[in-house]
C-alpha cells in the first residue's frame, strides 16, 4: 500500500533521514522504532506532506505522492495522529471530532458524517460521555483517544500514529494499543511510530528499527522482540526472560 524508496531528508545541513526504503502492506500494522532523534517524526511529516523538501520517492497505492499538499494527502486516505495529540483544546470533544472530517465536508452528506461520528463514539464510548467537554480538560488517555477519533473521521486508509503512548500511564497505553489492534482488524492499515518499542512491537505485525536516520533492522515484530540489539537498546531491564516471570 505504501512504498517509500530512497527517502533522504535534511534540515539545513543536518541529514535526518538517509536513503530510507521500506513498505507497508494493506491491512498491516508496521512500527518504526528508534530512539529520540532517529528521524521517526520527520518521516511521518514527510508522509503527511508537511515537509516537502526531500529526495526519494513515496508511492501510495501505486501513485507517487511526492510534493502533494497535505490536504490532498489526507483526501487520498493518509491521515496522521500527531505527536502530543495537538487537539483544538478550547473546542469541545464534539467539535474536534466533527472537524476531523473537514476535507470531506463537501463530498459527504450530513447523514454519512453523522454515521461516521456514531461509529467513532462506539469505538471510544468515553468520548460520547464527554461530548460537550472542552478537549483541553480531558485526561491524557482521553485526549489520545480524541486525537485518534478525529483522525478516524477522515476515513483513513493508512493511519499514521506518532508516539501514541507518549505521556500516558501504562494501563492507558495498553488500552490505546488494544484499540489500535481493533482498528487494524477492521481494515485500517497502520504505520506506528513509537519510542515504547515493547508496546509497539507487541501490537504490530512488522517493524523497522531506525538509527541515526538509517534503517538497520527489520523483520516480524515477534522476531524483533527477541532480537538482542532491540532488547538492549529499547526494551530495558523491565523485559524479563520467560523463565524469570
Amino acid at each position: 500500500m505504501l512504498r517509500v524508496k530512497n527517502l533522504s531528508v535534511s534540515y539545513g545541513r543536518i541529514k535526518v533521514l538517509r536513503q530510507v526504503t521500506f513498505h507497508v502492506k494493506k491491512g498491516e500494522i508496521v512500527t518504526l522504532v528508534g530512539s529520540n532523534g532517529a528521524g521517526k517524526s520527520t518521516l511521518l511529516s514527510v508522509l503527511s506532506g508537511l515537509k516537502k523538501e526531500l529526495e526519494g520517492e513515496i508511492f501510495f497505492e501505486g501513485q507517487k505522492i511526492n510534493g502533494l499538499r497535505a490536504d490532498q494527502i489526507v483526501k487520498m486516505g493518509i491521515v496522521q495522529v500527531p505527536e502530543a495529540r495537538q487537539l483544538f483544546n478550547t473546542m469541545t470533544v464534539e467539535e474536534n471530532v466533527s472537524l476531523g472530517a473537514y476535507v470531506h465536508r463537501k463530498t459527504c452528506s450530513k447523514e454519512e458524517l453523522r454515521e461516521r461520528e456514531e461509529k467513532v463514539y462506539d469505538i471510544f464510548p468515553v468520548l460520547r460521555e464527554r461530548q460537550m467537554q472542552q478537549a483541553g480538560t480531558l485526561s491524557g488517555g482521553e485526549q489520545q483517544m480524541l486525537s485518534i477519533a478525529r483522525a478516524l473521521m477522515a476515513k483513513p486508509r493508512l493511519l499514521l500514529l506518532d508516539e501514541p503512548s507518549l505521556g500516558l500511564a501504562p494501563l492507558v497505553v495498553k488500552e490505546i494499543f488494544n484499540i489500535i489492534k481493533e482498528m487494524r482488524d477492521n481494515g485500517t492499515t497502520i504505520l506506528l511510530v513509537e519510542q515504547n518499542a515493547l508496546a509497539a512491537l507487541k501490537v504490530s505485525d512488522r517493524g523497522y528499527v531506525l538509527e541515526s536516520g538509517k534503517i538497520i533492522l527489520s523483520g516480524d515484530s515477534s522476531e524483533l522482540l527477541e532480537n538482542e540489539e532491540v532488547r538492549r537498546a529499547f526494551l530495558g531491564k523491565e523485559y524479563r526472560e520467560k523463565w524469570e516471570r
Binding site: 538517509r18 521500506f22 538509517k214 538497520i216 522476531e223 532480537n227
Partner: protein, 438 residues
C-alpha cells in the same frame, strides 16, 4: 474484518515472497540490501573500512545496480578476520558457531543469531516443501554430521515441516538400506556419491527396490549430471533433487530445485545473487555462465557483501512452470578456483601443499589425481616426488608416506592413496582427471 481463513492458511516460509512478481522481489531486495549495508557499515569494521576506502557510503546504494561499485569479498577476507572480525553482533548474541575449511591457514568462522538459525531452517523447509516433502514423510539423513555440520539444517527443515527425521549419518550402506526398509523412509538426503554407493550395494545384495518406500531424494552439495540423476531416479524409484549452499556459509538451502527440476530457485528474499566474469569481475547478464556472487540480505550476525563463491553457474529469469518468480541458477560443475570435491569433501591443492611442506619440506613436487564416477569425485590419489638426494628426507619413504596419509585423513576427513613417483612420469601442471569405467 478479520483476516479470512484463506489468508491464514499459508506456510511461514512463504510469506515474504508470496504473490510477488519480479519487480516487487527487486523492491524487497533493495530495501533489505540497504539495511544490510547500513548494518555492515556500522557494525563490521572490515566493511566500514571497505566503504571508506572507495569513498562510498551505504546511502549511495540507491538501486540494486549501485552494488556494482562495491568490491568483492573473498575467502581470504573471511579467513583473515578469524575468529570474530566479521561478526556484526557481539558474541553473546551468537547462538551457533560453525567452522568451514578453506584455502587459507585459518578456518572461516561463521556465527548465527537465533533469527539467523530460524531463517536457514525456514529456507530448508521451503525447499523441502516445494519438492513435495510433507508431515507424513520419513527423512533419512545420511550425511557425515561431523564433517558437514550443515547436515543439521536438514534435521531442522524436516522438523519444521513436521516430518520425521531418521538421522542415519554415515553408517554403512547395508545398514542404511536396513533402516530404509525398517523405518519405511520416504526421503533420502545425502551426497550423490553416497547415494550411488547405496544403490550399488542394493544391486550387489540383489535387494528388490520395491521393498523400499523411497519417493524423493534430496542431494548435495555436489550436483548430479543428467546421467547420474537418471541412474538414481531409476534405481531407487524416486525423483532426485539438487540443493545448493555456499560451503563457507555452511548451511544448505540457499537454492534448490522445484518439482520441475529445471534449475535451482534462489531464495531471493534472503540473498542477492549476481554472476560475474571471474577474470574481470564484470557483471554478466542472465544466461551467461560466470561466478556466483552472493550478498546476504537478512542475516544478522554475518552480513556478507558480494561474496565470491567460486561456483560457476548461469541464471534464468524466465518464469518457471511451478509459478515461482525467483531466478533459477543452473547446476554448477565448475569452479573459478582450484577446489576439488571428493565424496562430498572439498579440498584445495593449497591445503595439501601445506600439509606436505609441514611433514617433509624436501618433497619437490606433487600431483592430485581425482577419480570420478558419473562426474563426481570418488577417489583421490596423491603423487609425491622425492628430492634427488633422499638422505635429506626426515624419514624413510615408508614413514613419510604413512605420515602424509594419516595427516591427510585427519585434516581433510578423507582417505587418500599416497604414492611416490618420479619427476619424469609426473603429469603436467594442473589437475588430471581420470574417468573410471565400470
Amino acid at each position: 474484518m478479520k483476516k479470512s481463513c484463506e489468508e491464514q492458511v499459508y506456510f511461514p516460509w512463504e510469506k515474504d515472497l508470496k504473490g510477488l512478481g519480479r519487480d516487487q522481489i527487486k523492491e524487497l531486495q533493495l530495501e533489505r540490501l540497504q539495511l544490510t549495508c547500513n548494518r555492515a557499515y556500522s557494525r563490521v569494521d572490515f566493511y566500514r573500512k571497505r566503504f571508506d576506502e572507495i569513498g562510498l557510503l551505504p546511502e549511495d546504494i540507491k538501486d540494486l545496480d549501485d552494488l556494482d561499485k562495491f568490491p568483492f569479498t573473498t575467502q581470504e577476507d573471511l579467513a583473515n578476520h578469524y575468529p570474530y572480525g566479521m561478526f556484526a553482533v557481539p558474541l553473546k548474541d551468537i547462538v551457533r558457531i560453525k567452522y568451514s575449511r578453506n584455502v587459507g591457514e585459518s578456518p572461516i568462522v561463521i556465527g548465527y543469531t537465533k533469527k539467523d538459525v530460524k531463517i536457514w531452517t525456514q529456507l530448508m523447509a521451503r525447499l523441502m516443501h516445494s519438492i513435495g516433502i510433507h508431515k507424513r514423510d520419513i527423512v533419512q539423513i545420511a550425511f557425515n554430521y561431523s564433517l558437514f555440520t550443515g547436515a543439521f539444517n536438514f534435521n531442522a527443515g524436516t522438523e519444521e515441516i513436521g516430518a520425521t527425521v531418521a538421522p542415519s549419518a554415515t553408517v554403512s550402506a547395508t545398514i542404511q538400506l536396513k533402516i530404509m526398509q525398517d523405518f519405511r523412509s520416504t526421503v533420502l538426503a545425502t551426497t550423490p556419491s553416497f547415494a550411488l554407493h547405496i544403490l550399488k550395494t542394493m544391486r550387489d545384495q540383489s535387494l528388490d527396490p520395491h521393498l523400499l518406500h523411497l519417493r524423493i531424494g534430496i542431494f548435495g552439495p555436489d550436483f548430479m549430471n543428467s546421467e547420474l540423476r537418471k541412474e538414481l531416479e531409476d534405481g531407487f524409484g524416486i525423483k532426485a533433487y539438487s540443493i545448493y549452499g555456499v560451503e563457507e556459509l555452511v548451511e544448505p538451502g540457499l537454492a534448490g530445485e522445484c518439482e520441475y527440476q529445471d534449475g535451482l530457485h534462489i531464495a531471493e528474499d534472503h540473498f542477492y545473487a549476481e554472476i560475474i566474469n571471474p577474470a574481470t569481475g564484470k557483471l554478466l547478464p542472465p544466461g551467461s555462465p560466470g561466478e556466483l556472487v552472493i550478498t546476504t540480505l537478512t542475516t544478522e550476525a554475518y552480513p556478507l557483501i558480494r561474496y565470491r563463491t567460486g561456483d560457476i553457474t548461469a541464471f534464468s529469469e524466465a518464469p518457471c512452470a511451478c509459478g515461482r518468480k525467483t531466478i533459477r541458477m543452473s547446476p554448477s560443475f565448475r569452479r573459478s578456483d582450484d577446489r576439488i570435491t571428493v565424496r562430498g569433501v572439498s579440498i584445495y591443492p593449497q591445503q595439501v601443499e601445506r600439509i606436505i611442506c609441514e611433514i617433509e619440506p624436501t618433497i619437490v613436487d606433487f600431483r592430485l589425481v581425482v577419480y570420478t564416477t558419473r562426474g563426481l569425485g570418488d577417489r583421490l590419489d596423491l603423487l609425491i616426488v622425492p628430492p634427488a638426494d633422499e638422505s635429506l628426507m626426515k624419514g624413510t619413504r615408508g614413514q613419510i608416506l604413512e605420515r602424509v596419509r594419516s595427516t591427510m585423513r585427519r585434516h581433510l576427513g578423507l582417505g587418500v592413496r599416497v604414492q611416490w613417483t618420479t619427476r619424469e612420469i609426473l603429469p603436467a601442471e594442473g589437475m588430471l582427471y581420470k574417468t573410471v569405467i565400470n
